[in-house]
């Protein structure tokens, strides 16, 4: 089985802050990491390969530095890695991103399954997986939390819903986006690390994937950012002073009408 896993290098979102006074980003110590959901996508792909044979190709669209997450993916069991990188891709929204990834995957060749994390933690949009499936004209299932079976060219799985889950059958080739519950990702093996070090990563430019310049990067994007700002809070911040008894008395006076 040939599996393609899409991964993204992201700033570690929990460390990103915007100073509400100066509107500048406090970026101190923010690291670039592999998007956590993509780790689960990769792990699932590697497990499927171990059970059913085949090959796992990881693909990432990003600046040259994104090579680091591709090597990390190889150290965790991926076989091949493709970096889709060109300055012309910069500023892509999800629409331009799915176009670009779609063209890159067509160039990679035949596949049975594409697996993505459910969303990236920088944008939190969850739009690239479904949009990419549309570009490739293949069926897809989002929020997959368990793969139960493969039979007759189809995969059976559980999709997480807001009130439970659906049992689903999807014909291959198809695309899945996965949630964290699906597995516990492994840590890199020594052998994997050696392999990752030596591996030559293929790089695809806009020209390599025969991308239409009007569909990629900022100029291909359908949406644009008007402004970014720090979230505003409007707490009254009435601090209740005194001994514990006094604090509790005051609080009860205030909230008694709601209780």
């Amino acid at each position: 089985m040939n599996i393609i896993v899409c991964i993204k290098q992201v700033p570690d979102a929990k460390d990103v802050r915007l100073d509400p006074k100066t509107n500048t980003m406090a970026r101190e110590g923010v690291e670039s990491i592999m998007n956590p959901f993509d780790r689960h996508a990769l792990e699932e792909a590697v497990r499927l390969k171990e059970q059913h044979g085949g090959k796992v190709t990881v693909i990432s669209m990003g600046p040259p530095q994104a090579e680091a997450v591709l090597r990390e993916a190889v150290s965790c069991g991926a076989d091949e890695a493709v970096l889709v990188s060109d300055r012309a891709f910069a500023g892509a929204d999800t629409w331009a991103t799915t176009y670009t990834l779609g063209k890159a995957i067509e160039k990679v060749g035949e596949f049975d399954l594409v697996i993505c994390g459910k969303q990236a933690i920088d944008g939190d949009t969850a739009q690239v997986g479904p949009g990419l499936a549309r570009r490739l004209d293949i069926p897809y299932v989002s929020y997959v939390r368990k793969i139960t079976d493969f039979l007759n060219g189809a995969v059976r799985l559980h999709r997480l819903m807001d009130d439970g889950y659906d049992e689903i059958e999807m014909p291959l080739p198809g695309l899945l986006t996965v949630v964290k519950e699906i597995n516990d990702p492994r840590i890199p093996s020594l052998k994997g690390k050696m392999k990752a070090k030596k591996l030559v990563i293929q790089t695809f430019s806009a020209e390599d994937i025969e991308a239409d310049p009007k569909q990629i990067g900022l100029s291909g994007s359908t949406t644009q950012v008007v402004k970014v700002f720090a979230p505003q809070f409007k707490g009254e911040r009435a601090m209740l002073e005194g001994t514990v008894d006094e604090q509790v008395e005051q609080l009860l006076e205030k909230i008694e009408p709601i209780l």
Binding site: P11, D124, G174, V228
Partner: protein, 397 residues
């Protein structure tokens, strides 16, 4: 490309600080952009001397842009009822529609829809396009997506909204990609810019640490998914008039390559925290799993549900369905009591719209106090038992 006017640049370094992607450096006291730049534009606004700009080629505007008018919402119908978020969409949709002096319509798909369309009208829809067909009993991305796409192509609404639910966030990207238009996920604020009718879509990013306002200027419709329990539902008016249209999809558009074999409703192991009037939440300050016993006692005493921060859930002191925040549930009860929760932004975005917020924390600088209506700096293991005692006392127990 990010253009830097080196004559204007004063080398202050604010843009370097602002960039999340580490894409700007100061070289010889002038800002220089490197290949990590993804043109997000956050530096442009912060430059005091206006030395930064993003050059974009003039994009072709969709030829029939002006023909698109009206607001359309997708009404989610599951297990015999309309999801509450659909009525919230009608609430905001009504506001936007009134501003644009344009009609508000809803698309309702499912099997055995009953009077659901009438409810949508009572909550503000002027027209409901419904398809009531056994083939639509289970949600599938393709069938729902194809039909919604076809209705949109025929009706040409300028704005299309859906709930940011498991269903909305899964199939709306398919529809937007098919229509070759922009989509903004998980919006918490929507407004129409009066000059040009462009929808300003505001949403949290980076786990809620940053808010971004997005527009979709060149193509129609402008599409957004909207976070549940953020927008206000319009009042129910059984006498409102509206039209119900039984839409006839082409049979092949109701096909889905993906088959749903079974729908499994999971027993929630507790009260659904998104529906209660009172929530008592615990965080890292509880120290361990046993700490939650105290939270449960207080919740029992006030008749509330138990919530938790991500830190507490990640430590496995309590299960994930209790989690409040960006990666958990969004709640807005009448009263939210946060015990031992520091108030990381990702938690706050999930509870800040609660009517009254009480924070109990031993750290006076904890950010939770910034959203609190009432704050108590103190040891929750002293404060909470006392609170429980007094509540019981007042009730004469």
């Amino acid at each position: 490309m990010l253009k830097i006017d080196i004559e204007a640049c004063i080398g202050c370094g604010v843009c370097v600080e602002t960039c999340t992607y580490d894409a700007i450096e100061l070289i010889d006291d002038v800002a220089v952009v490197n290949e990590k730049c993804n043109l997000c534009g956050s530096c442009v606004d912060t430059c005091e001397v206006e030395a930064l700009s993003i050059e974009r080629e003039e994009k072709d505007v969709q030829a029939d842009l002006a023909e698109w008018s009206g607001i359309m919402i997708f009404a989610e119908y599951r297990h015999g009822k309309v999801a509450p978020v659909s009525f919230e969409l009608l609430g905001i949709g009504r506001q936007l529609g009134d501003q644009q002096k344009a009609p508000l319509s809803a698309v309702l798909l499912g099997s055995g829809l009953g009077d659901a369309a009438k409810d949508l009208i009572a909550y503000g829809a002027d027209a409901v396009y419904q398809v009531d067909d056994p083939a639509l009993e289970y949600f599938t991305d393709e069938a729902y997506g194809n039909i919604l796409e076809d209705v949109i192509r025929e009706q040409k609404p300028e704005v299309v909204l859906a709930g940011a639910t498991a269903i909305g966030r899964s199939f709306i990207p398919l529809v937007a990609t098919s229509l070759a238009t922009g989509l903004t996920a998980d919006c918490t604020e929507l407004a129409i810019r009066s000059e040009d009718g462009v929808l300003l879509q505001t949403r949290p990013a980076f786990g809620g640490n940053i808010m971004a306002t997005i527009e979709c200027p060149y193509t129609r419709p402008q599409m957004a998914t909207v976070r549940p329990r953020v927008m206000k539902t319009a009042p129910y008016d059984a006498n409102r008039g509206g039209e119900i249209i039984n839409y006839q999809p082409k049979p092949e558009r109701m096909q889905s390559r993906v088959k749903v074999l079974k729908n499994v409703l999971e027993e929630q192991d507790q009260v659904n925290i998104t529906e209660g009037d009172i929530i008592v939440s615990g965080g890292r300050g509880l120290d361990n799993e046993k700490g939650f016993d105290l939270i449960k006692q207080l919740a029992d005493a006030v008749g509330g549900a138990v919530g938790a921060s991500r830190a507490a859930v990640d430590s496995q002191w309590i299960s994930y369905p209790h989690q409040v925040g960006q990666t958990g549930k969004t709640v807005n009860p009448k009263l939210y009591i946060a015990c031992g929760i520091s108030g990381a932004i990702q938690h706050v975005v999930g509870m800040q719209s609660s009517e009254t917020i009480v924070a109990i924390n031993k750290d006076p600088d904890a950010p939770i106090f910034d959203v609190a209506t009432f704050g108590i700096v103190g040891d929750l293991f002293e404060v909470v038992p006392k609170l429980i005692e007094k509540i019981k006392e007042n009730r004469g127990e």
